[in-house]
């Protein structure tokens, strides 16, 4: 037992006794005796070095998507194709709010941090699922979000955690106690800004984008100082000149039926629409530490369906963008869909992996799973497109223009891949995506900017008489070919994890959580949970046991059964 104090406060708190006491609510815990763990050495806080090495770390899960490259590949092999049938529930933790659950658990030296809808944060003992503390954000009266009161998790750095909130604030918590250290406003929620993504942290900078593409915001990525909350830089995802090159085809070469003559006339009359053009950045960025660059994708233009009011390509909506981490200045971009009127935005987090280019050379690549249902493969140097995959979902009348009565098209507006992060297995050269097949009609209606109110410029409607389903798809990103594809009962949303054990893990709206053989797609294991499994799984190791953890709480957007459980699995002994 070690008693350690600094300025009257304990600086080291380790799992076990001390945290239990905190959970009980001891206010004078500084005077308690603190047990110092030995198992993980001195790694009490999350250092930049740990964050950098996370891709090879088979104890922790330090980033929302596993590592800076966002591969969602967890190297541990303890749970593998041979024994996964022995996987069973180790513990279940019930959170306070029963609502849409999209959290990515992160795990730091045996402590897990998870969040729920309405910005609750919990620290759990990752071995037992016992709560150490619970933080509830004091929500302001004004929140503006589109698709459920979601939160996708926290970022950890040194002894702090960071979370974006529905009322567009960034809060920093003491990781040991859950007490708020600072809070700062990211943007004005009255104008449609809100936060659901987990921040990304690098070199003392907290990076976060924004939601709001349905409200006529002007999107951004901002960098804040982790210690103070001070704003360091802002990258506006919509430049003042958003017009672009009047592209007629999308990234796959398909004609988009733009009326460019009318757009040019509108541009003369209305001017550049950049101030209310949307372009949210609402999922995490990949970080390349060598080049000191961030890669992220930018969401749809506002209003979603009514394009006549926003002439031009609407840069950098529906694009991959790379910026310099020091300054936030743009280095390169690639637009998938210019002047989108279908809400098929770019949102699934980009992944940095070595890829083979068309000359057979291995180059630093970026993958993105598009709402169009294609995996796009880029050269990380200049963002250019090397190739796109075969379509993972059925395409029907893609780029038919929305009409007043409603034009039917596939993919539907929730896309072929939604915000769900993909995973990769770099050894196999595979990217794993979860898909939606959801036929919709696209309705357009002329609508002026409604001052921060919902601004769709029309409506999306699910076609109730048409069947819907989902897929889990493995794509060879060096050829663009689909390696395997498995159909699921419902459209898929949430995320997927690949492991060194030759497995991928992903959940479904019907509550099933499944493991597939990552090279064949063969179903290896499943568990029935009490609500939709629509959150990205993580993995970690405590005391020699590998765990797989996932949230089972359903989804607002697709109306999957709500719940409030975090479930951890390990092999039966």
């Amino acid at each position: 037992m070690l008693k350690q104090k600094e300025g009257g406060r304990a600086t080291f708190v380790k799992v076990g006794l001390a945290s239990l006491m905190m959970a009980i609510g001891s206010s004078a815990f500084a005077d308690e005796e603190i047990e110092r763990g030995t198992l993980f050495g001195d790694m009490q806080t999350v250092t930049q070095d740990m964050l950098d090495k996370s891709a090879g770390d088979s104890n922790n899960f330090l980033h929302t998507n596993g590592n800076y490259e966002q591969t969602r590949f967890y190297p541990a092999e303890q749970i593998n194709t041979d024994n996964v049938h022995n996987l069973e529930k180790a513990w279940t933790f019930k959170m306070d709010v029963v609502d849409s659950l999209e959290t990515s658990p992160i795990v730091v030296n045996g402590t897990m941090y998870v969040t729920s809808s309405f910005n609750h944060v919990y620290a759990l003992d990752a071995k037992t699922g016992k709560a150490k503390w619970h933080y509830q954000h004091e929500m302001g009266p004004i929140t503006t979000y589109c698709c459920g009161p979601n939160n996708r998790g926290v970022a950890a750095y040194e002894d702090m955690l960071f979370m974006g909130t529905l009322d567009a604030k960034l809060v920093a918590l003491d990781a040991k106690t859950g007490k708020k250290v600072w809070e700062t406003e990211i943007a004005d929620p009255e104008l449609g800004y809100s936060e659901t993504m987990a921040p990304t942290i690098v070199n003392g900078k907290v990076l976060i984008g924004t939601n709001g593409g349905e409200y006529g915001i002007r999107g951004f990525v901002k960098a804040f100082d982790a210690k103070t909350g001070k704003l360091l830089w802002t990258f506006n995802s919509i430049p003042e000149n958003s017009v672009g090159v009047w592209a007629e085809n999308d990234a796959t070469g398909l004609y988009m039926h733009r009326d460019i003559k009318a757009e040019k006339a509108a541009l003369k009359k209305l001017g550049d629409p950049y101030k209310t053009l949307g372009g949210g950045v609402w999922q995490n960025m990949a970080i390349d530490r060598d080049s000191n660059r961030a890669y992220f994708v930018v969401g749809n233009p506002s209003p979603d369906l009514y394009g006549a009011i926003r002439p031009g390509d609407n840069l950098y909506t529906n694009s991959l963008v790379s910026v310099d981490l020091e300054t936030g200045e743009k280095i390169c971009h690639f637009q998938y869909i210019a002047h989108d009127v279908w809400d098929l935005d770019a949102v699934s987090p980009p992944i940095l992996v070595p890829v083979t280019n068309d000359d057979g050379q291995t180059v630093k690549g970026v993958l993105h799973g598009g709402k169009t249902g294609y995996v796009y493969v880029h050269d990380a140097g200049d963002c250019s497109l090397i190739r796109h995959s075969e379509p993972m979902v059925m395409q029907r009348d893609r780029w038919v223009l929305p009409t007043k009565e409603g034009a039917s098209m596939l993919p539907g507006a929730n896309g072929g891949v939604e915000w769900s992060p993909m995973a990769t297995d770099p050894g196999q050269g595979l990217a794993f995506a979860i898909n939606l097949h959801q036929p919709m009609t696209y309705h357009v209606e002329e609508t002026p900017y409604p001052d921060g109110k919902l601004w769709l410029g029309g409506a999306f409607k699910v076609i109730p008489t048409e069947e819907q389903w989902g897929n889990v798809t493995a794509v060879d990103y060096n050829t663009g070919k689909i390696k395997w594809k498995v159909k699921t009962q419902h459209p898929m949303i949430g995320g997927i994890l690949a492991t060194g054990g030759g497995l991928v893990f992903t959940g479904e709206g019907n509550g099933l959580f499944k493991a597939y053989n990552s090279s064949t797609g063969e179903l290896m294991w499943q568990d029935q949970t009490n609500a939709g499994v629509n959150a990205p799984p993580s993995s970690y190791n405590v005391a020699g046991d590998q765990f797989i953890v996932v949230g089972s709480g359903g989804n607002a957007q697709l109306d999957y059964k709500r719940g409030n459980e975090i479930i951890a699995y390990k092999l039966a002994k």
Binding site: D96, V97, V98, D99, S100, Q136, P141, I142, T143, T144, C146, C147, G148, P149, E214, G406, H443, E445, T447, P450, K453, L454, W455, L456, G457, G458, A459, F460, K461, V462, I463, P464, G554, A556, Q557, D559, R562
Partner: protein
């Protein structure tokens, strides 16, 4: 039970508030008199029992504040509420909206035939209503509660959206225009009788 801790919170806040009101100056005193005029139609503390007058008790604060502003601006046309809203200052609107939001939603006990419930549910699915009004259809912040609201009012205001009378939320109007009157009737009945 959903939001169990929120319910506790509400209980605590109510207790605190009651205590506060006795001991301290009434926060709502600047609007107390005007609130009485609201009660005439919307019921005591906004717990309306008449189908034409929407329940305000327990409705979302920011939603109601925005509605009052929109009615004053004429974005939401209403022969009855238009002049009333026009007579209110923004600060009064805020206080009143806050007052009503803090009251408990009254029991309404509407019921619906199974067949109509199924039809209503289908509309909720097609329009993805829960993506915004949330799974329990109780709304949040700028999105109003629909669950257990009076069906007459729900239908009337949805028809106002459909027919371009209620112009303060174009996106909702466009969506509701895609449904027939019968579908809107079905969904009103379903929403008013909604239970978890």
């Amino acid at each position: 039970m959903r939001y169990s801790n929120f319910k506790h919170l509400i209980l605590i806040t109510t207790l605190l508030f009651t205590g506060y009101a006795v001991a301290e100056e009434d926060k709502y005193s600047p609007v107390r008199e005007k609130l009485e005029t609201c009660f005439a139609c919307h019921g005591q503390n906004g717990a309306s029992s008449m189908g034409a007058f929407p329940i305000l008790a327990g409705q979302e604060f920011y939603y109601m504040y925005v509605q009052l502003k929109d009615m004053k601006k004429g974005l939401r046309e209403s022969a009855v509420m238009g002049p009333i809203a026009a007579s209110l200052e923004k600060s009064e609107m805020k206080l009143m909206a806050e007052f009503f939001s803090k009251q408990a939603w009254p029991e309404t006990n509407y019921t619906v035939e199974a067949e109509q419930a199924t039809a209503g549910k289908r509309v909720v699915g097609a329009g993805q209503c829960v993506a915004c009004h949330l799974g329990d259809l109780r709304g949040n912040s700028r999105v109003p509660r629909l669950a257990n609201q009076h069906p007459d009012y729900l239908l009337a205001t949805m028809l106002d959206f459909k027919n371009g009378v209620r112009k303060n939320s174009p996106a909702v109007a466009t969506l509701l225009k895609t449904f027939s009157e019968q579908e809107l009737k079905d969904v009103s009945d379903y929403l008013s009788s909604y239970s978890e």
